[in-house]
């Protein structure tokens, strides 16, 4: 099907004059072309980019699920002092939100509803304990998608949504603060961001270097993860926002590379298996990549803040601005994903961690963070791996319902995902051959992730 010119207007049970023709890779070529030439503006590439952008939220959602799972594994009612702390914290947060909203000098029914629900959630959990919180956090998973999307659409309304009503006074404060400081100092945050990016790169490379020296990472297995680590750096060199100052980042990265190479050369490598450690290295690389991109984005925002603040900082048009539509849907997706099955899986995994490991760590005088990093995190590795793989598959396949209800794939195609693209090509225009080709590419992406899971996931479980 994907290698034919199948078109509902030419080939169906009611058409006698059309012959299905084998066109080889014609559909695949068309996917990557505008007209007769390859173009980065080809719809498939743009929509694949949208899909991958949404998938940047996966590490955040996974870590968020873990955080809330760990949080919810403790009983907030335990101990009077702790319960009082919960209540005070809840009240403080609630009052803070009320003050922020009141500063907007306007109320709407949605705002009142939003604050009321949040108050019930925060205070009710302190009284009813974990069961209430676990139920609340899992709610997004079983609430019907369409009503949820409609509610979020109202939350995001630029003029009257509670999100912007809360942001407006906050942005005024930020604008005032930025204007009261020398622009040079604020813009200097760009280079602080560059430094953080370099540190994240160094962290990733350091982990790989240590794994290599410990014999847990083979040289060939490290090639792709290292390439992944360098992607933000390459993007920064090409991005219009950072091309002029990219040389500063280049110098920092060069120092990091030299440092890592020196450390690599000064150590002795423990013998290890060939082509081993690829999976863990890739996960580290992806985590570092996301962190670098986030920092890069924030750094650029900081650099442009003085100019933006001079004109007054306005809350964005979340769903109608191509630059904000994807983050808006991503945030909504995070809200649904953090409390989803991922959290349940982590909750189950946390209860299966042997207590004697924690006791041994306590005997060794481990800190809270060391307990997490040395005991909890490694024990959760199989679960984390499974969740990452399944989230990646869901990310590649997802986005259709959300885009269709909230943005219709817009504005200007900014939220069209591959699955939505398949629907549009196949059933709106009838080009089933092209739609099949896109679907096959999507399948190959999913299959490669599945293959990755099959090859490396079992090893984790066995270990």
């Amino acid at each position: 099907m994907a290698f034919t010119n199948w078109d509902l207007t030419l080939h169906n049970a009611y058409k006698d004059d059309g012959n299905l023709e084998f066109i080889g890779l014609g559909n695949l070529v068309e996917m990557f072309s505008v007209g007769d030439q390859f173009s980065w503006d080809a719809k498939f590439i743009v929509y694949l980019g949208n899909t991958l952008f949404f998938m940047l939220a996966i590490p955040v959602s996974v870590l968020g699920s873990l955080y809330f799972a760990m949080l919810l594994s403790k009983d907030p009612r335990a101990g009077g002092g702790r319960a009082m702390g919960w209540i005070v914290g809840s009240l403080g947060l609630f009052v803070g939100c009320v003050l922020l909203t009141a500063a907007g000098l306007a109320w709407s029914a949605m705002t009142v509803l939003f604050l009321s629900v949040m108050g019930v959630m925060l205070l009710g959990g302190s009284v009813l304990g974990n069961t209430f919180y676990r139920t609340i956090f899992y709610t997004p998973s079983f609430v019907a998608g369409v009503p949820t999307f409609l509610v979020w659409k109202k939350l995001y309304s630029r003029e009257t949504g509670p999100v912007n009503r809360a942001l407006d006074p906050a942005l005024d404060v930020v604008a005032g603060g930025v204007m009261s400081v020398s622009p040079v100092l604020v813009q200097g945050l760009l280079f602080v961001g560059y430094a953080v990016m370099a540190l994240l790169l160094g962290w990733g490379l350091g982990k790989m270097r240590q794994a290599y020296l410990d014999g847990e990472l083979d040289r060939r297995a490290a090639v792709l993860p290292v390439i992944v680590l360098m992607i933000p750096f390459v993007v920064a060199s090409q991005w219009l926002m950072t091309a002029a100052t990219w040389w500063v980042l280049a110098v920092m990265v060069l120092f990091v590379l030299l440092y890592q190479l020196r450390r690599l050369g000064s150590g002795e490598r423990f013998p290890g298996r060939r082509s081993s450690g690829f999976d863990e290295a890739l996960v580290i690389a992806l985590l570092s990549l996301v962190g670098q991109f986030v920092v890069l984005g924030l750094a650029v925002v900081a650099y442009r803040l003085p100019a933006m603040a001079a004109d007054g900082l306005e809350p964005p048009s979340w769903l109608n601005d191509p630059n904000f539509a994807k983050p808006a849907l991503m945030i909504m997706g995070l809200w649904a994903a953090i409390g989803s099955n991922n959290m349940l899986l982590y909750l189950a995994a946390l209860t299966n961690i042997p207590e004697d490991l924690y006791e041994a760590a306590d005997i060794d005088g481990a800190t809270r963070f060391q307990r997490f990093w040395s005991v909890t995190w490694p024990q959760l590795a199989p679960t984390t791996f499974f969740i990452l793989v399944m989230s990646t598959i869901a990310g590649l396949q997802g986005g259709f319902e959300m885009a269709r209800v909230m943005t219709n794939g817009g504005p200007a195609g900014a939220t069209t995902t591959l699955s939505y693209h398949v629907y549009e090509e196949g059933f709106v225009t009838g080009r089933l051959g092209l739609a099949s080709a896109v679907a096959w590419v999507l399948f190959l992406l999913v299959f490669s992730v599945t293959l990755f899971n099959w090859k490396f996931g079992n090893r984790y479980v066995n270990e």
Binding site: E159, L319, F427
Partner: protein, 557 residues
């Protein structure tokens, strides 16, 4: 656990059986046609009148009931959905179909319609209809909006060609508006007949203007006048408000923006797009100015704010009814719902603004027939009903857009409905423009309308989002559409000959234009250009040189 599951299974089975037995018996003695349409409240009455019309028009069969047994059998075979219609035109049957049958009416002759129509409003979705059609399970009669939807079905080969039946049964183009030719016909063949007709105009809230001390807009006006009056209105209406809440118009008619300055989408022969034109770029800039600079038309953010702040679902009509829009763009079909508003004042009429060439659009919610219907003759009878006086009078009464037959727009019941004096200024002009300045859409036989709409919208959205300039949007739109045409011609050998022929005609037209010579009307396929050239005196009925084959002069595909 086994006992539990078994118990649940038994309960489910019993419940299912009970639900099934509670279904009313809808089997019918007469053939049943299913009509996929939208869930407008008037649809039920339209079906009822079809049943009654059949009996009055003689499209019926007679059954003589002489005994109680025959009467009981007939009652069992006539679904409850049909009984009321039978009694309505045959009052003597009331006793026969009463809850307690009156044996005194026997013997009696019952006239049954030859077909029963039932509504299916759950399948009213273009995509669903397409899939059902190519899968062989589509409804007998389907409603579509305009020729753009119909043509996809035609291209898939799933529609019944009703050209001959239309001539013999009285529902051809001569029974409706001439401007609808491109919406009903494809290369001269008819596949659809209107259920209603819509001419695009602006419905004016006259009371709102007067309450602000302003005069309502003129019936015909230019883009400049629209901007001036709109800006003045919005300034007055939003005085003292922290946020703009009242707008001049609910949305922009983008097609009117470039047609108003004489620019179509396609060339004369529909073989190429012509949107890479400064006038198209200017039309995009004008639209953006109205939305984002003058803000006399709401932006997407403004529309989202309506949904939140006003507790409406974002619908245009409630906003218009609440005085948030001075005017609402659309057709007479708005009245179907506007009549439900209380305290709605006088309504006025205004044509879409223009840039030198006054024009409007004409569209239709039309009925198409599935090729594989079990009852093609009966389905075409439904189309004949749409052209009947009974149906047209119903459209007039309900104000469900314009009646399919323009003759019914000249009667008193249409022009001045007794119960709605606030609308009297609206009905006459709405029908008049449908027969004068309204022009059907442009459909090239070499590219699907859905593809055209998608690409135009895509680049327009990019422009509105600030991603590309207006000039770039114009350039890319034309390039993309022309690329789609070439791809279609390459893929579909059945259109190549026609494409080559039209290219030859286009070259001759271009030569005539270059020489400032009039163009033979028979050569122009584009309905917009045909109307535009006629108004500019650029058409001639004579053919400069004989052609091997002039082909169809229809409105396109």
């Amino acid at each position: 656990m086994k006992a539990l599951f078994t118990s649940i299974l038994v309960v489910l089975l019993i419940s299912s059986a009970a639900v099934r037995m509670s279904y009313p018996d809808l089997s019918s003695r007469v053939p049943v046609l299913y009509w996929v349409t939208d869930p407008a409240p008037t649809r039920g009455e339209q079906v009822n009148r079809f049943h009654r019309w059949q009996i009055k028009a003689g499209h019926s069969t007679e059954v003589v009931v002489t005994s109680l047994d025959d009467a009981e059998a007939l009652r069992a075979e006539i679904p409850v959905t049909l009984v009321d219609d039978l009694v309505a035109v045959q009052p003597g049957l009331a006793g026969l179909f009463a809850e307690e049958m009156d044996a005194g009416v026997l013997p009696v002759t019952v006239r049954l319609p030859v077909a029963e129509v039932r509504l299916d409003t759950a399948s009213r979705d273009d995509t669903k209809q397409k899939i059902q059609a190519v899968s062989g399970v589509a409804a007998d009669i389907m409603d579509v909006f305009n020729g753009s939807s119909m043509r996809m079905f035609v291209e898939m080969g799933v529609l019944l060609d009703v050209t001959e039946q239309a001539k013999t049964m009285g529902f051809d183009l001569s029974k409706t508006y001439a401007a609808l030719e491109p919406e009903l016909l494809v290369e001269g063949r008819q596949y659809m007949f209107p259920g209603n007709v819509s001419s695009s105009f602006l419905t004016v809230n006259v009371e709102l203007f007067r309450s602000l001390g302003l005069d309502p807009p003129p019936e015909r006006w230019t883009f400049e006048a629209f901007e001036r009056i709109g800006a003045a209105f919005c300034d007055e209406a939003n005085a003292g408000l922290s946020r703009r809440e009242v707008f001049f118009l609910n949305k922009i008619d983008w097609v009117r923006m470039h047609r108003g300055v004489g620019l179509p989408r396609f060339n004369e022969t529909m073989t190429a797009s012509v949107l890479n034109d400064a006038r198209y770029a200017e039309s995009l800039e004008r639209g953006r100015r109205w939305m984002y600079d003058l803000n006399i038309v709401p932006t997407p953010d403004d529309i989202d704010a309506f949904s939140s702040a006003q507790a409406y679902g974002g619908a245009d009509l409630p906003m218009f009814g609440a005085g948030k829009y001075a005017m609402i763009e659309g057709g007479r079909y708005w009245l179907l719902q506007l009549r439900q508003f209380d305290r709605l004042g006088e309504l006025g009429f205004a044509e879409p603004p223009h840039g030198g060439f006054p024009n409007s659009s004409i569209g239709t919610r039309g009925a198409i027939i599935y090729k594989d219907t079990d009852y093609p003759e009966l389905a075409t009878l439904f189309l004949a009903y749409l052209a009947s006086a009974d149906y047209n009078n119903l459209i007039v009464e309900d104000a469900d857009a314009l009646p399919p037959n323009p003759a019914f727009t000249h009667i008193e019941a249409y022009l001045r409905p007794e119960a709605y004096p606030n609308e009297w200024g609206l009905h006459g002009p709405a029908a008049k423009i449908a027969e004068t300045i309204a022009i059907g859409d442009e459909y090239s036989p070499f590219v699907l309308p859905t593809v055209v709409e998608r690409e135009i919208k895509d680049f327009r959205d990019r422009f509105l989002a600030g991603m590309i300039s207006a000039a770039m949007a114009a350039e890319r739109t034309e390039a993309t559409l022309n690329r789609e045409i070439r791809k279609r011609v390459e893929r579909d050998p059945t259109v190549r000959d026609e494409y080559e022929r039209r290219l030859a005609v286009q070259r001759r037209i271009d030569a005539l234009k270059e020489a400032d010579q009039p163009i033979p009307e028979v050569w122009v396929n584009n309905p917009f250009l045909k109307a535009y050239y006629a108004s500019e005196g650029l058409l001639t009925a004579e053919v400069a040189e004989p052609l091997a084959s002039s082909g169809s002069t229809g409105g396109g595909m």
